[in-house]
């Protein structure tokens, strides 16, 4: 059995809230593809962007606890995190625990205090939902299982900044053919192309959306997002495919805000890549949570004869 066919699942906080549709569509796609998810019991927040600004080693502990449960209580070899923030933080913790003695000591101390086994680097592999589908099933098998096609749908794939940065915490990337690239990520492009979508050339696929600054400097975030939306439209996209709940929410919310505050309307819609794959796999849009999106993806899917 491929090691990615049965993985521990760490949805993270956002997927229980604003990213609920991403959670639903990830599970639905997994089911349709025969990929198993086993949710990490009693998982905790990874600390997102906030804790690292107060104490990076405590942030490392937060991620290590999730990994400790996966290893010691679930006997898992692989954990999948669909949120870029969670994925990034788990990878960062893995790197720090492998390379920094001070981090190891802090994590060990807090783990003992909390009464659970300490996570040791190198005992669990962290992957993103894109790796899970790309390497767990592959484009050929995905094509075989399609019940429809995204043919005619022009998609800009937006990866955000945390999926590939900083490069040193992703040693498995940039390994040549078949591996993901940190400068030109393509796994989402590959999967959606396999499902029939027409990917447009989109140069802002890893550009900053100002996500973490969305409350303290909303205007800058709105301008950054507006520029991303306008660039996607200029590239000919009808949809921006996302693979992170924070990016997705940011694009949707600031699209609305850009119209209200700056008077700049954009028509491009946002859909999670799992929602798009789900449609091609014949899963109903409601099961994929398309109706929960702020931007009206359902109308576009109907217009394109996909729903």
């Amino acid at each position: 059995m491929n090691k990615y066919q049965r993985v521990a699942y760490y949805p993270g906080c956002a997927l229980e809230g604003t990213g609920h549709a991403y959670n639903a569509s990830t599970k639905a796609v997994g089911k349709a593809l025969g990929l198993e998810l086993h949710e990490v019991a009693d998982w905790n927040c990874c600390g997102a962007m906030e804790v690292k600004n107060v104490d990076p080693q405590v942030q490392t502990y937060l991620s290590s606890r999730v990994m400790a449960i996966a290893v010691h209580e679930m006997n898992a070899k692989v954990v999948m995190a669909p949120c870029n923030g969670c994925y990034h933080n788990l990878k960062k913790a893995e790197y720090d625990l492998a390379n920094d003695e001070a981090s190891r000591q802090v994590v060990d101390r807090i783990s003992k205090k909390a009464g659970h086994e300490t996570y040791r680097a190198g005992t669990l592999e962290t992957i993103h939902a894109l790796d899970w589908i790309k390497d767990g099933i592959g484009e050929q098998e995905l094509k075989r299982r399609l019940k429809g096609s995204l043919k005619g749908l022009k998609v800009a794939n937006y990866y955000g900044c945390m999926y590939t940065r900083p490069r040193h915490i992703f040693p498995e990337k940039d390994r040549g053919p078949g591996s993901e690239s940190t400068s030109q990520p393509h796994f989402m492009d590959d999967l959606l192309a396999a499902a029939g979508a027409q990917n447009v050339d989109f140069p802002l696929k890893t550009a900053c959306c100002g996500g973490a600054h969305t409350l303290s400097d909303s205007d800058t975030s709105t301008k950054l997002v507006l520029n991303i939306l306008q660039a996607a439209e200029a590239a000919g996209a009808e949809v921006i495919a996302t693979e992170c709940p924070t990016c997705h929410s940011g694009l949707e919310m600031h699209q609305v805000r850009a119209e209200k505050v700056l008077g700049r309307k954009t028509k491009v819609r946002m859909l999670y890549f799992t929602q798009l794959l789900g449609v091609a796999l014949g899963v109903g849009p409601r099961k994929l949570g398309v109706h929960e999106n702020v931007s009206d993806g359902l109308a576009l899917l109907k217009e394109k004869g996909l729903a």
Partner: protein, 119 residues
């Protein structure tokens, strides 16, 4: 088209020059892969890993410059404009905070002054 691409590249370089000067350094005149923009980015990211969040944007600016030099169309020029705008928004936002300002992933130094909570 030639004047437009040169003007856009100069605008992008000016943004990074401001960033470098704000950090008390002299903007480099050197080039990386024939682009001063890339050398300026490398200089600007030294000691500030989070500045790499605009590394690909700079590389895309250079790539689009080359496309326009090879005779690409108005759409490519429009895309290059948007890339430069993105670079401006990102760097200006970042400069507001880094002590220089408090923007996004650059906010750590500002908040790192708090007490440890793991003891």
């Amino acid at each position: 088209m030639s004047a437009a691409r040169d003007a856009l590249l100069a605008r992008a370089e000016a943004v990074l020059e401001d960033w470098v000067r704000a950090r008390g350094e002299t903007p480099t005149q050197e080039a990386v892969e024939t682009f001063r923009l890339l050398a300026l980015h490398r200089q600007g990211a030294r000691g500030v890993p989070s500045f790499n969040a605009c590394r690909e944007t700079c590389r895309e600016v250079a790539y689009h410059y080359n496309l326009l030099a090879a005779g690409a169309d108005a759409r490519t020029e429009r895309m290059m404009q948007m890339l430069v705008t993105h670079l401006e928004l990102f760097v200006r936002g970042k400069m507001q905070t880094e002590g220089l300002g408090e923007f996004c992933c650059a906010s750590r130094p500002v908040r790192n002054k708090g007490e440890r909570i793991d003891g």
